[in-house]
Structures are given as structure tokens and as C-alpha cells.
Amino acid sequence: MKMGYFPGCSMGGSSREYGESLLAIAPELDLQLEEIHDWNCCGASAAHNLNKKLSLALPARNLGLAGQQQLEELLVPCAACFSRLAGARHELHQDEALRHEIEGVIELPLEQMPRSLNILDVLQKVFPQELNGRLRHPFAHKVACYYGCLLVRPPAIAQFDRPEDPQVMDQIMQRIGAEPIDWAFKTECCGAGMSIPRTDLVGALCAKILEDAVSRGAEAIIVACPMCHSNLDMRRSAINKAAGKTYDIPVLYITQAIGLALGLPPKKLGLHRHIVPVRLPERAATPVLEPVSAQEES
């Protein structure tokens, strides 16, 4: 499957391993990614917090550039970038006058704005139906799939899965042999952009998330957003401080989990770059392949 690619700023920096693992598994999943030339930052939270027009212009420029490259769909692995790009497209689609105004600001046409897809949406589509021998090391662990906020909210923008108790990541993890747990903090916010200005709040919020996952027997947290990873992993000392105890549970990107299951070496997937060491208990491979449904519980 061929599609456009908007890496986002963190892929090159603090979430380098996300980009590495994504590009490592892409050929295994027959996914060809064409990066947008000279893309710029989507504006993240800073832009929309301070300046509405800027918060539309920055992502719109990327959509305009992608349009020039004839890209119709974009993989946007960072959930925040995904939300900004999809949100800009949504708003500019509805408001023609605003769209013309932004076209003037970015000096690019926005007639055909490509659709943004988040990592789970794309993985779900490209994951082969039959894995058979390719599943070298089924990821036979209990995992807590953490979706965070922006993959599923607001529903009108994300248009993906369901905003309460989403299932797509759980289903993908099941296909690589994991046992996703039913837990209560799948979509509770990790603290987002407060990582630097209010690390204490991030610590408190993430402590609740980890406590719920760990108390229900999770052996790893699986994420699909660099911000969530950063808060749950890099800020572990703040979390431990807020909780008054130490959490060892590792946080993996879904791309890393898939990479491990497909037999790729951990170093290639950037596991050594995590702050919290990725140590998973050994277990005999017992892939569980029935789909998880909401009605199945109790």
C-alpha cells in the first residue's frame, strides 16, 4: 500500500524510536511511504492555544504541499499531528471563506486536501490477514493498549473506532499474539503538552494510568502517540514521585511490538532508547486469535 507520510517533529528527536520502528516494519507490511517535501511543524498545542489562524495555517501548509505531490492519503503517526491535520481539513472544508483566507496565507491551493490517517487506522488496513510463519515471536504478553485522547476524540474529527473503550489497537495486538486487558484508562489524558511546564501534573495523571494497568496485570503499555510515550516513559521519575512508588512497566510503541513479533531485532526497533528498560517476562507463545468484542466481557 502506497501513501503519503507526515512524520511530525518528534520522530526526529525525542521519539526517534517510533520513526525507526515504523520504517523498520513498513517493508514487512508492504507499506510504501512518500514523505511530504519540506513539511513543517503542525503547530501542536502551542499554535491553537494562542493563535487560531496560525493553528490552521501551519497544518494547512502541509496539506497544500501534499496536494502538490498528488498525495491523497497521509499516514500521520503522531496522534497530535493527526488531530491538527484532520482538524484543519475538517474546518477548512466546511468554511469556504476561511479556506480562501488560509490559501492566501500559505500561498498554496487547498482544493484537494488529502485525508489524514492515524497509525492504527493504517496498520489495521495493511496488516495481512494470514500471518502464518511470519509471526516468529508472538507477543505473548498481557498488554494495556493505551490510546490517549486524540486518536479517537473529538469523534467528528478523528472519525476512528469509538471514543469510549476503543478496540482497534486491542485487535491488532491480538493478531500478534498478545492478550490485551480490559482496563479503564484507555483514553484518559496523559498530560499532553504539560511535560515541560507542569511535569508534576503529568506525573499525577500518568500515575493513575499506570496504576490501573499494573493492578489489572498488564506487563506492558502499548501506545500509538509520541507524546503519550514520552509522558509515560521519559517522565517515569515524575510518575513515581507522584505515586509514591516505583513502576517498572515498559512502554512500547505498537510499531515496536509488531516489529518484535515479526522477529526484527530490538535494537533496530529502538528499544534501547527508552528511559524505562524494556523487560518482558518470558512466556510460551500462545497466540489468541479470536476477536475481542465489547459484549464478551463478563
Binding site: L50, N51, L54, G191, G193, R198, T199
Partner: protein, 192 residues
């Protein structure tokens, strides 16, 4: 509700500017509290979201003032939980965005939120310069604004050796286009 509030004529009520600028109508809010109940940081806020709505609904200058000067709007994570659950489908994160921009414009930012504002400004400055986030630059800029020199210093070498900190920024090629973009949206932006 003070007596003099009714006599203030200058300027529209914040609720009205909000409506014309974003389309959000605060009169729809019937104060059910579901937003505040689900807000992850409601416990930290001086005015949780449902109370902010009420402040705006009064259409009184003193209440508008309280809303602008609140800490809540800066604590808001834009996690969209409130909007997702609001029975009247009120886009509360959009209201937060509006109030934040307005608070900066009117220079009424809550003192405890200054670091948050500084962080956002540092972020935008870096983007303005490079086109993409340059984390070292961001942290340096933020420290220069916040004078929070010690924080995260211990982290830096760890991150560097793990290859997660780029010493040099990646500059977007068409920086001119980016400068133009910032310039054209400037009159909206918060001035320091």
C-alpha cells in the same frame, strides 16, 4: 451580580465575541457538570469548565474578567473529553482556545500559568525560526523565559546518549514561506 455591571456598555460580552468568532453558543449550556466531572484536571482548576460556561453566560464584565484571568484555561489539556461527552455538543476546547488568545491579547494571564504561556511561546518561536521543532532550542528558549534553569538538566545527557536529542536544528528549506505565514497570522498572535 453587581449594580454597575449593567451600566457597562463598551465592548461586547465575551460570550458574544466567542459566538461570532467560533460559532459556539454558551446559552446552550445547562450546567449539568458532565464536562467538569470528566475533566482530568478539574480538581486543580479554579473554575472547572461548567463554571467557566456560567461565568460567560452571565454576560457581565466582572465575570468575563474572572474567566480570562482564570488558571483553568491554561490547565486545560485540550484532551476533548468534555466535548465528547457534552449532551449539548458544546465545543468547550474551542472556548478554551478563544479565552486563552483573548487573555494574552488583554494581558490578563493568571500568574500561576505564566510558565505554561512561556512554554507555548518558546515553542512557536522555535517553529518560526526553524519550521520544525528543535528540542534543545525549545528548552533553552523556555529556560531563558522561565528562569527554570535546573529542571530537566539531569535528563539531557541521558537523552543525548540515547540519540534522542539532536544538537542542531533541521531547518525547513522554504523558510521564507514560513516567515510569511507567521507574519500574515501575526496580528492574531499573542505579544509577549
Amino acid at each position: 451580580m453587581s449594580a454597575h455591571a449593567a451600566s457597562v456598555v463598551q465592548g461586547a460580552a465575551l460570550a458574544d465575541s466567542l459566538h461570532s468568532s467560533t460559532g459556539v453558543d454558551v446559552t446552550r449550556c445547562y450546567q449539568c457538570g458532565k464536562c467538569s466531572a470528566g475533566c482530568p484536571l478539574a480538581g486543580e482548576m479554579d473554575y472547572p469548565s461548567s463554571v467557566l460556561m456560567r461565568l460567560l453566560q452571565t454576560r457581565q464584565p466582572e465575570m468575563d474578567e474572572k474567566a480570562l484571568r482564570s488558571h483553568s484555561i491554561w490547565l486545560c489539556l485540550s484532551c476533548e473529553t468534555c466535548f465528547c461527552r457534552c449532551p449539548m455538543e458544546i465545543d468547550i476546547p474551542k472556548v478554551s482556545d478563544f479565552l486563552r488568545a483573548e487573555a494574552v491579547r488583554q494581558k490578563k494571564v493568571h500568574p500561576a500559568a505564566r510558565n505554561i504561556l512561556r512554554f507555548h511561546k518558546s515553542f512557536l518561536d522555535v517553529i518560526h525560526y526553524a519550521g520544525r521543532l528543535y528540542e534543545v532550542g525549545l528548552i533553552a528558549d523556555y529556560k531563558s523565559r522561565s528562569w527554570n534553569l535546573i529542571q530537566d538538566v539531569a535528563m539531557a545527557p541521558v537523552l543525548f546518549f540515547k540519540g534522542k536529542l539532536k544538537p542542531f536544528p533541521h531547518l525547513v528549506k522554504n523558510r521564507r514561506a514560513l516567515h510569511k505565514l507567521f507574519k500574515k497570522t501575526q496580528n492574531e498572535e499573542a505579544r509577549p
